[in-house]
Symmetry: C2
Subunit: 260 residues, 2 copies
Amino acid sequence: MTLEPNDRLILITNDDGLYASGLKTLIEVMEEFGKIVLVSTPESMSGMSMALTVKTPLRVKLLEETERRRVFTCNGTPTDIVKLAVNQLLERMPDWVVSGINHGANASVSVLYSGTMAAAIEGCLYGINSVGFSLNDFSRSADFSVCKKFIRLVMQKLGTERLPDGICLNVNIPSVPEKEIKGIKICRQAKGNWREEFEKRKDPMGRTYYWLTGMFQNHEPEADDTDEWALANGFVSVVPVSVDMTAHWYTDKLKERFCI
Amino acid sequence: MTLEPNDRLILITNDDGLYASGLKTLIEVMEEFGKIVLVSTPESMSGMSMALTVKTPLRVKLLEETERRRVFTCNGTPTDIVKLAVNQLLERMPDWVVSGINHGANASVSVLYSGTMAAAIEGCLYGINSVGFSLNDFSRSADFSVCKKFIRLVMQKLGTERLPDGICLNVNIPSVPEKEIKGIKICRQAKGNWREEFEKRKDPMGRTYYWLTGMFQNHEPEADDTDEWALANGFVSVVPVSVDMTAHWYTDKLKERFCI
């Protein structure tokens, strides 16, 4: 694959695996913008957060190589994949790291657990403009075509001018017909958490086991500046996500509490 | 295990496994403060970040039960373990979730990858005062005794008055003799990232594989208010970590960039 100076180099990954419909849609849009290098796991890696593979080695397989597209599989997590691609597979730093389209929203605290957003955060740690896209629909038959227009719009607005250091974008798209989407809204992460998170069962030997499950609880459903509100009200939410997790506003108060 | 009204209930976990020296030291200190419920994996779960186990069920085994201590193993990640303990194993919400002591520092961006800090962040999402402790020493022979005094001090200062919603503490302890430690310093997360992250090898069949490795690069070694600086200069660093990853300072600027 040769690179033209004005051609964007785009690293694409996801956490739903190589054969996910959301990934297919993302590739279709990204091919309009430049040359793509796609690296994904054969199987889904949902809920992997920024997990790293430290106990087993990673292997990579080149599946396809054309002038405008290279496709690899890798047995790592989304975070591993971005690290490996940047360090070993790409000829130069990509202009964008784009992740998704996730099957299901990654709004509110789901950003903390999301493999889709982990890839974007990792890209951002390398100083690359990085975005994670998610569609608010977990079903297998989810229609990702609604996402295309908004992915195109977000990437055009983002461009190649660098975001500030340590910031990437978390984009969630409501699962409604395109004409019902009211536009893009810049938001903050809603306060919330997950509740009643396990289903307890007995196996055929009578031993207890637990399945992770649960319901998301929005702690501020009335606030109209959150990603959860945007999704519930027909907007595409865009949250600038910071890799700096310091609660800066609280450091002075913590000094008082610690009498320092 | 019966609970006296004035006795603290403390959930302890880690990401280095049930037999880690750092965990042993943490238990010794925490037993001074109340009744403990310890839940850990048999094997280490380093670098698991906030990964969730969604494809396999979780199993729990009670190993020990006395008046002041219950010990379980669980096949989940640190995040799973906190969720499962809070939902299924504990009679009531614990007063503290305490995680560690990690074998190796979790300063700067390592907070994003750390299983130790993931447990603290998960506790915090349940509204529990939560702290992750790490010793800046990866070696097997690390001497954790230096940590005791400072863990005691941090937990006394923290007390049971709730931290603000969505904040937990990331505590890193330098690996030097106790008398050389200059005190506790409230810090922010240093800017940095990992570089040269893979070692490429050939297996006996001639096929390529990669081991995750790398070196941390501090982007602001001169700044004296970061956790990295504190550790390098003989202080225990305490960073208030926020579960809200929104880059709030950038939302208005992003609106301008998106012409919204």
